[in-house]
């Protein structure tokens, strides 16, 4: 019997906080400025300068800690993490070592294999480093260019317990984490722009063994799919080594998306000895109960809670609740529309059908689109009140999406109002009966399905505007005799 292995994964996630200014100075955090425009003596680490902590960054870190079910520290401090690298002008990063803002949390995740709880070891504050552009690849470049705009942008690092057992769990954890940060609105969580970054520790051990195997640290996974692919590759690589009797080497590896494999960074980095010591330029942080309570009061309803409420209180299917709460803007849009239109399932159908289809086609978010929650509610009410047919509504909806106009105005201007006028419909029905003797005969011979064909003809004649219920009834009356 060959040995069966179990995978052990822990994630370190860096989240850039959406403050206006940097963590220790007043430089702007705006993305996309020309190189080195957002720099000052503090973030450049010039001698004689003093960092001063941004209160908003602490607020956000506390909120993150609370949302991840952590204990918030009463007393916290900052430490210097020392290493030499050109993206770090001071040759140390101000971070937190032994007294982070938050510790001992957990979140719930769900994969196809079931529900799991993942521990959150800690949430700590630190400053981001600058951006390096190598002239050529890092190996053969003659030099590198440094942009310090990002230096000093506030980050929280969220460290998980080694609680994940599959790449799918890691992906689900990251997805949930991102969603929580988005609901908190403390980060824009854009993985491509680097405002959410993920490193993983991954190792294998024989099933039943308590002790962890030798781990690899995996970096440079810049998307959700890269996280899953990189970890899946690494599971196989380590398994192959162990099964052939080899030993996994503890090292940092980088995910190469183009090659679809992980590559050793061995020999490319110094031994880790960061010589942490307390940052003497900052004073300690005391977080009072009052401060914690204030942040607690500012927490919005979090995705899990909203999901539960949508299922339990609104009676939505779990699938609908998952889709709607899986995006903060979508969930907020849904709830805003619900205020004016109290049929959750019908509203959900339209949002998951037409709305998501158009959003995906145009690669837009709900707020980018022309549709407002109020206008969608109004349109659905118009369907329910027989002002427009469901078919015409799809046309109206597309117009609302592109123009941002009010559905009543669109229906008015385009003459899309449903025809519910008895005599007008009678004329059209009479014409259709006259033009389709075969179908009429079929109906009279008891082929009930032929009615559908005739209704379709009336709809065609009226370009979808006839009230289908009335048309059906009129046809049956006329053909009975």
């Amino acid at each position: 019997m060959s040995t069966k292995y179990e995978t052990v994964i822990g994630l370190e996630v860096h989240v850039q906080l959406a403050t206006k200014s940097k963590i220790f100075c007043g430089c702007s955090t705006e993305f996309g400025k020309a190189p080195n425009e957002n720099t000052c003596p503090v973030c450049l680490g010039l001698p004689g300068t003093l960092p001063v902590l941004n209160k908003k960054a602490v607020d956000y870190a506390i909120m993150a800690g609370l949302a991840l079910n952590c204990e918030i520290a009463d007393y916290s401090k900052f430490d210097r993490k020392n290493y030499f690298y050109p993206d770090l002008p001071k040759a140390y990063q101000i971070s937190q070592f032994d007294l982070p803002v938050a510790q001992n949390g957990k979140i719930k995740i769900e994969t196809e294999a079931g529900k799991f709880e993942i521990g959150v070891t800690r949430v700590h504050l630190e400053e981001d480093a600058g951006k390096l552009i190598h002239e050529g690849s890092i190996d053969n470049s003659k030099g590198s260019l440094v942009d310090y705009n990002r230096t000093g942008v506030p980050l929280i690092e969220i460290v998980s317990e080694p609680d994940m057992r599959t790449p799918a769990q890691a992906k689900a954890y990251l997805t949930e984490l991102k969603l929580i940060m988005e609901y908190l609105a403390i980060s824009d969580c854009n993985m491509e722009e680097g405002s959410l970054r993920c490193d993983a520790n991954i190792s294998l051990r024989p099933i039943g063994q308590e002790e962890f195997g030798t781990k690899a640290e995996l970096k440079n996974m810049n998307s959700f799919s890269a996280v899953e692919k990189g970890l899946t590759y690494e599971v196989k690589r380590q398994k192959d080594i162990l099964e052939s009797g080899g030993e996994v080497v503890q090292e940092t590896r980088t995910w190469d998306e183009a090659l679809g494999r992980t590559i050793s960074m061995r020999g490319k980095e110094e031994a880790h000895d960061y010589r942490y010591f307390p940052e003497p330029d900052l004073v300690p942080l005391e977080i009072s109960q009052e401060w914690k309570d204030q942040m607690q009061a500012q927490l919005p309803e979090l995705p899990r809670a909203k999901y539960q409420r949508f299922v339990t209180d609104l009676g939505l299917p779990e699938y609908d609740a998952g889709v709607l709460t899986g995006d903060r803007e979508l969930a907020e849009f849904f709830e805003a529309a619900l205020k004016d239109y109290n049929d959750p399932k019908n509203l959900s159908n339209w949002m998951m059908g037409e709305f998501l289809r158009l959003l995906n086609e145009n690669n837009q978010t709900p707020l980018d689109s022309g549709i407002t929650a109020q206008n969608l509610a109004k349109m659905l009410t118009m369907i329910d009140q027989d002002v427009i047919s469901g078919k015409i509504a799809k046309e109206v909806f597309e117009k609302m999406y592109t123009t941002g106009n009010d559905p009543e105005k669109i229906v008015e201007a385009e003459g899309l109002k449903q025809i519910s006028d008895q005599s007008e419909l009678e004329d059209i029905v009479a014409g259709v009966i006259a033009d389709n003797p075969e179908a009429v005969e079929d109906v009279q011979n008891g082929k009930d399905r032929a009615i559908g064909y005739l209704v379709g003809q009336v709809m065609k004649e009226t370009r979808g505007k006839a009230n289908p219920g009335m048309v059906n009834q009129l046809l049956r009356e006329k053909l009975k005799s």
Binding site: G26, P35, C40, N54, K55, K268, V283
Partner: protein, 95 residues
Amino acid sequence: MIDKKDVEYAAGLAQLKLTESEKEKYTEQIGQILNYVDKLGELDTEGVVPTAYTVPMKNVLREDKVTESLPREKTLANAPDQKDGQFRTPKIMSD
């Protein structure tokens, strides 16, 4: 006591190249400093809360307001090398 290996390790982390005679000199000097600091161990600190700070201050915070950054010419004024508004470093990875 520390030995020469500790000095070599610390020098390596600080990216300092030391001559043999410097290593010996620093081993002795740093050893003396550490011995001196060890005297603190003789004090009775029972019941004293550890602290990393000497001033009785806490929570020095600023509001999240953007202030003016340096003009870029000034930021780059002392750069030994620069290109396209960026600092330019020599090759980072050694062969």
